[in-house]
């Protein structure tokens, strides 16, 4: 009798336990990401680190940030499988890299590249109090021509 009970209830108990644990993990990573993107003006989730990106798309975003001399916090998704999936779920965006400005998801590599080309990035950075190095360079050029 005992074994019947165990056999019929244990899997149910075990599955519920596993599911709860997974949901808890999801909630934890979600909270963690939420905190990261809200506590920093600019955050980049990427493959590798800024000094050694491990994907061409991530590298492109790093180069753009460098050109504008943007201070940002970066997170390596290759170092944390939970984060790699968690960030995709958080922003409902299937690929890496991902850029957040002022807690808001802005886009991946393609969007950053286009925002850089159109000048929109300079404007977005201005909104959060970051002055792009490209803007500074442009201003000093104008000053010289005066």
């Amino acid at each position: 009798m005992n074994s019947i009970i165990r056999r019929s209830f244990y899997p149910l108990y075990n599955n519920t336990f596993k599911l709860t644990r997974r949901l808890l993990a999801d909630a934890t990573i979600n909270e963690k990401i939420d905190k990261i993107v809200k506590e920093n003006k600019v955050v980049v989730f990427m493959k590798g680190v800024p000094d050694a990106p491990r994907c061409g798309f991530s590298n492109a975003v790093v180069q753009i940030m460098r050109m504008h001399a943007v201070p940002y916090e970066s997170h390596d998704v290759l170092a944390d499988e939970n984060l790699r999936q968690g960030i995709k779920d958080y922003s409902n965006w299937p690929t890496i890299p991902q850029v957040f400005i002022n807690g808001e998801f802005v886009g991946g590599c393609d969007i950053m590249l286009q925002m850089h080309q159109s000048g929109e990035l300079v404007e977005e950075l201005k909104k959060v109090g970051i002055k792009s190095a490209l803007l500074t360079a442009e201003e000093s050029k104008k000053e010289e021509n005066k």
């Binding site: 590798g48 994907c55 061409g56 991530s58 290759l78 299937p94 802005v106 286009q114 925002m115």
Partner: protein, 108 residues
Amino acid sequence: MSTAGLIANSIKTKLENALKTKHLEVINESYMHNVPQGAETHFKVVVVSDKFDGLALIKRHRLVNDILKEELQHGVHALSIVAKTPQQWEESDKVIESSPNCRGGFGK
């Protein structure tokens, strides 16, 4: 397109049907990456559709990502998107730059 792979074809059909594309290119860029020959893991799509009219860039990308949800969940791991309205496409130089080179982040 007879040499196109299964996934490339499915991407093409789905985008054509959902967005009534005026111009569509599905480029398999997997060969640029650290994956087996003939793999279908990295794609670039050039999508020109009236449905992008009035939509911000991020919404256009979300729309395309959503249409290709299944592919992105099963095997396709990089998707670069160029999304333009027919007018924007006509005004552009129509030259599509290839994606940045891989740095070996996958499988290494």
